[in-house]
């Protein structure tokens, strides 16, 4: 039975993902994807071309500032916005379209729906960050553009899977206004607590992604950053990666359990 369950879940999730890709190919959704690529590229290029230093002899400080700008825009803002749009309404969008019932009446339908939509949300959002990084990096004048590009690809992916799992959980826990709650969570926890110089920021995704960026791009840490623990110092990169991936797995497991036992109120007539 477990084998049958796993096969059904795999086929269901793949079916949902294929269906979601097909549904994504609309002018509005493609336009939204393009907008989320163009907006960070525009800001990065404005910053790069307004720098006063000569383009091919830029200081280490300039490179650090631009790396941080890439980090704030791509693995943080673009990814969080993308996941707010695609991962949070996993259930609510189906409820509003009166199609959730069709997932409920399949043995693995609910979990397949969540996994398939989560996979497409990760794909959709990660590719936004990847495309923006690919377009912007050649114009910035990094000393090691390939390295920055690879780091941004990795950070966009890690940030997408972690934020996606978090927002998907919020989406299945809260039936209505889940996007508002996810936005406040992102703003308060990731945006504010993540930057508080205290132990609590270690429990945020932002802290782990930030620490990986500082380590992989050799961002010079000043004394304040070092002592206030805004970025980890001396901790293996694998600890951060494991923290993100294990955290993602735990969040997804809770999401899948919750969605299977949830009794969402659906419009009924009789």
């Amino acid at each position: 039975m477990m084998n049958g369950m796993a096969t059904r879940l795999r086929r269901g999730a793949v079916g949902v993902a294929r269906y979601e890709v097909l549904r994504s190919m609309t002018p509005i959704r493609i336009g939204l994807w393009v907008a989320m690529v163009v907006f960070p590229v525009f800001l990065i290029l404005v910053a790069a071309f307004s720098a006063e230093e000569p383009r091919f002899a830029r200081s280490e400080q300039y490179q650090s500032v631009m790396s941080i700008l890439f980090f704030v825009l791509l693995p943080e803002i673009v990814t969080i916005l993308g996941m707010l749009l695609w991962a949070t309404p996993i259930v609510n969008a189906e409820m509003e379209g009166q199609t959730w019932i069709y997932a409920v009446i399949r043995p693995e339908g609910r979990r397949a729906m969540v996994l398939g939509k989560y996979a497409i949300a990760v794909l959709w959002t990660t590719t936004c960050g990847w495309a923006a990084a690919t377009i912007a990096i050649p114009f910035v004048g990094f000393a090691e553009p390939l390295r920055v590009w690879l780091v941004m690809l990795a950070l966009c992916f890690l940030s997408s899977v972690a934020h996606g799992a978090l927002f998907a959980l919020i989406g299945v826990l809260v039936q209505r206004r889940s996007m508002v709650l996810a936005f406040f969570y992102a703003a308060v926890v990731e945006g504010v607590l993540g930057w508080i110089p205290a132990v609590i920021n270690k429990f945020t995704i932002a802290y782990r992604i930030r620490s990986l960026m500082a380590s992989w791009l050799d961002i010079p840490l000043n004394e304040f950053m070092r002592t206030s623990e805004l970025v980890s110092d001396g901790v293996s990169d694998w600890v951060h990666i494991a923290w993100l991936l294990i955290g993602t797995a735990i969040l997804l497991a809770i999401t899948l359990w919750r969605v299977q036992v949830a009794q969402y109120s659906m419009k009924t007539e009789g």
Binding site: V14, G15, R18, T26, T99, Y102, E108, G270
Partner: protein
């Protein structure tokens, strides 16, 4: 060993906060075709939610094919549901949508492609396979919903108000499909608020109202049950006062009301057959003119009012009252 019943509900109640969805349902049904009849808000969709594992009972136990559909969702593989809500899918063809439903049922991509086409042909949508669902008529969307319900080859088909919004041709076509389904020996549970719509398809009824199962049985059994219940009957006569006077001392009359129509009396009678016999007698012997007698049989709201009265234990032998 007795066969596993199709449905087995033991003292099932479900509360939505402080509102009762269904109340102390007890039911055991073998395989077969059944109609679940009740007015809007009676609890039909809640009961269907319980049978498909979408809802968990607050009290009691629900079993379909011997398994709890909430705790053992694998049993859903044997159930197909055609829900009452309209299909509001945008920009996707019925072929793609049915393929998604089959994928969620665990079918491989290759299997689901051929099966989707097959089942859409079965419901008569072969000429619109690749048209977006949002361009379909209501009847076509209903057939598309029916197609997803039978696509994974279930043993029990549950339909919630399948005739809603359909024109007579659409109703006929869906009815024919369901009759054929039942003829193949597969099980069927058909929820509707219109009794006559389901009478063509099955002879086994369950009447639900206020979250309670009021009665179940064949049409004949329900008619016999009705025969024991007080029923509302309208009688038109140009000699209305004489007729009222004649009726007022009958023991089987529960109430009598003069309608705004000067010829009309609205009666509640304990034993309708006694009334019919008496009217014939008075007409023949006393030249009392009776122009029209209309009973409540077939009128679902009257039927439910009667059954609710019985269910509440209201007296069925109250002395006749006359009101004007």
């Amino acid at each position: 060993m007795s066969p596993v019943p199709l449905l087995n509900l033991q003292h099932v109640s479900l509360m939505y906060g402080t509102v009762i969805g269904v109340n102390d349902l007890k039911l055991e049904l073998p395989s077969g075709a059944y109609a679940l009849v009740g007015p809007n808000g009676a609890g039909k969709s809640t009961l269907i939610g319980l049978l498909t594992g979408a809802l968990r009972p607050t009290l009691g136990h629900v079993q379909v094919f011997g398994h709890d559909p909430y705790r053992s969702p694998h049993i859903l593989q044997r159930i197909g549901l055609c829900p009452s809500s309209d299909l509001l899918v945008q920009g996707v063809s019925s072929r793609r949508w049915i393929q998604l439903q089959l994928a969620m049922s665990g079918w491989s991509t290759r299997e689901s492609k051929s099966r989707a086409e097959e089942v859409l042909r079965l419901v008569g949508l072969q000429d619109a396979l690749d048209r977006p669902i949002h361009t379909y008529s209501l009847g076509m969307r209903q057939r598309c919903k029916l197609a997803q319900a039978i696509a994974h080859e279930p043993e029990l088909l549950i339909l919630d108000e399948p005739f809603n919004g359909l024109d007579p041709v659409g109703r006929f076509q869906i009815s024919e499909m369901l009759i054929e389904w039942a003829r193949q020996g597969k099980s069927l549970l058909l929820a509707s608020h219109v009794l006559h719509e389901v009478e063509r398809i099955t002879d086994s009824f369950m009447l639900i109202f206020g979250g309670r199962l009021l009665a179940s049985g064949t049409a004949g059994e329900l008619r016999r049950l009705l025969a024991d219940l007080p029923q509302e009957i309208v009688v038109d006569s140009p000699q209305r006062d004489a007729l009222a006077s004649r009726l007022s001392n009958q023991t089987w009359l529960r109430s009598l009301r003069r309608d705004a129509d000067p010829k009309r009396l609205v009666l509640t009678v304990q034993r309708p057959l006694e009334l019919y016999r008496s009217l014939a007698e008075w007409s023949a012997e006393e030249n009392l003119v009776i122009e029209r007698v209309a009973g409540s049989e077939g009128d679902i709201s009257s039927l439910f009012r009667l059954l609710v009265s019985k269910h509440r234990g209201e007296s069925l032998t109250a002395p006749a009252g006359v009101s004007t």
